[in-house]
Symmetry: C2
Subunit: 376 residues, 2 copies
């Protein structure tokens, strides 16, 4: 249940109550694709970096180790040791980006696994069944993520099919939640807005899925290569048609600047692999911009990654030490950098919430929207 | 300063007082070759797994990032964030096992770096200077680690040279400790007993190095491929000639069974890469023997790695989850397994000390000496 606490312009300060805990929003979800954060972070570390929501991937876990195995072991919470809210994506995005020999029909999609090549069929029902087996807090609707740019006609017919799929998702989730051996009988379902960069398609689609009265709404199909101005334009166009009393999630976004812009347009939830992926290459977020630890100038730099950061890495280790770990190919380099970057993101959201609480979000956004994305 | 607290047969319960803290012995030293434990463990994690002494490699740190850089940054303690005792090896073993184009002369050894191929000369003075720059708690003497099996004549001449090198190490360490800008003016120096598997050479060498009144004595050149009976025989032969009032370190050993046998022969300190290396392949120590997590039978096993273990991994994660992480090639798999195996080793030493305190070491050894090394 989403509770709107305060607004500043279109920006929303709220909270989202689930059976696995209450999420203070705006919030960033930390990506644990296969049930673990890349860079050797465990569910214990998620607490250390102030993670509120863990995000895992339906497609990856279905392929390996298998959602039925995870259900047998008590669900994804017990399996990973993370007791807070978990969002699972629907598998749709991975089916359309990772798998091969893909065929889309009204029933769903058939494709080959990227791990072992076996043939898999996934439609709305299968996606809900897998997510029900995982027992996540929030399941995402099974949708087609159309590539950008797309023809208007294809985008429209894909949107219409995705709405029909969404109705099937809703019915199947209601059925699964009522079964006696379901892992999480309170599993929530979010719908996903699609329509590429066509505002009229986006709005029409949003109206249709809003009518289904789901637990939350995501904007999908953005941050897939289009200019960021297009992304902001679409969010602004769709936002007035998103229910005020439901949480809103912008999928796969983004840089700190993207997040600040999206919050100011009324978005509550985010996820992105960028902070952990950048970290693994030594690119670290600081309050002064992005630094690259591979740079020679950090060789003897005994200051922390970010003097203003309170994360366990910045409290103990120097730029010189972490740079050495990268050069020596020590796994610890990646772990420390991923910890820092994810803490930075979770802390950014905390500061956004604080600024909304105190009515100073616009100042905060203006101060950091370009600065945090700048490579220094 | 070593203080002998209690004995049981030849086994010794003691403590070793250093400027970086007191080590309860027998103890296992945790190997951080390049200033970090393989498997993404930081100095913070060393506290979690009850590590008493961190061991780092002189050769590796000299080559990268350079001991002078580490000195500039305040020494290895400040660099790595580990404030407890650190032992550095002399670089001798790596020069003889890793480097190429090696030439041994009375002055020392010239060789090529395994990292960038540059020519390096290292003799007793250079090794002491590097270790002084690192500022470790304990420096090891620069020695030649002769391959097994070796001709008697070569082993003898090598031993004699190593004693001459040791005298130079001692003089150089005294000089370095008296310099105004030395990182650790109380740096200790351990001598290393050599002589391959020849008891008379080992004993004669031990007598010579004992006369130099160093801070501790190591037995080197064992666990390099010889049968374990030879190792035990040599320890038993040399032990009566090792000073009672000095700490004794068996280098590079070994399995839990090896350690139990060596403690019962009067050894106080150990180090070995095996627990972390095994961990990275999913081979885990338990109180019932060694398990291989890659085995299919652990696919749905929701029990901890070792029901009797109190480590952070066994308190939270299942065999099935960790096995999944290995299959999914998640770095977290290695981290969790290394944490468990090192905790297991440090805990083994704690139990050895407890059994010595209560006069039940012989029972403890008999119960576990074969069991812990058995693959189940």
């Amino acid at each position: 249940m989403y509770r709107l606490l305060k607004t500043e312009g279109a920006a929303r300060r709220g909270e989202f109550v689930t059976v696995h805990g209450t999420v203070q929003t705006p919030a960033f979800m930390n990506v644990a694709t296969c049930g673990a954060i890349k860079g050797a972070l465990s569910s214990t570390d998620l607490e250390t970096i102030n993670c509120q929501v863990m995000l895992s991937n339906t497609y990856h876990l279905h392929v390996r180790p298998g959602d039925k195995l995870i259900k047998e072991l008590g669900g994804l919470h017990k399996f990973t040791g993370w007791s807070g809210p978990i969002l699972t994506d629907s598998g749709g995005f991975q089916v359309f980006s990772l798998a091969s020999l893909r065929k889309i029909k009204e029933e769903g999609v058939s494709f080959q696994s990227h791990v072992d090549g076996r043939h898999i069929f996934m439609g709305p029902e299968e996606s809900m069944q897998i997510q029900s087996n995982l027992g996540s807090t929030i399941a995402m609707a099974f949708d087609e993520c159309v590539e950008n740019p797309a023809e208007y006609a294809y985008a429209m017919s894909s949107c219409e099919r995705t709405v029909r799929w969404l109705e099937r998702c809703k019915a199947e989730m209601e059925r699964l939640n009522s079964l006696p051996d379901t892992v999480n009988k309170n599993q929530l379902l979010f719908g996903i807005n699609q329509g590429c960069t066509y505002e009229d398609l986006r709005i029409e689609n949003m109206k249709q899925i809003a009518a289904l009265n789901l637990d939350g709404y995501a904007i999908g199909g953005l941050a897939v290569g289009e200019p960021k101005e297009d992304m902001y334009r679409i969010i602004s166009a769709v936002e007035p048609y998103m229910p005020q009393d439901k949480i809103r999630y912008l999928m796969g976004v983004g840089t700190p600047g993207n997040i600040l812009e999206a919050v100011s347009r009324g978005v509550d939830l985010f996820d992105c692999v960028m902070p952990s992926r950048n970290a693994r290459h030594g690119h670290l977020f600081t309050k002064s911009g992005i630094i690259n630890l591979n740079n020679n100038k950090y060789e003897k730099d005994d200051s922390p990654v970010d003097k203003e950061c309170g994360c366990p890495v910045c409290r103990k280790f120097s730029r010189a030490y972490i740079r050495h770990l990268f050069k020596a190919k020590e796994m610890l380099a990646m772990r420390l950098c991923v910890m820092h970057n994810l803490y930075f993101y979770n802390n950014l959201m905390q500061e956004i919430r604080d600024s909304l609480d105190s009515g100073t979000f616009a100042e905060y956004r203006d101060r950091y929207v370009d600065l945090l994305d700048t490579r220094i």
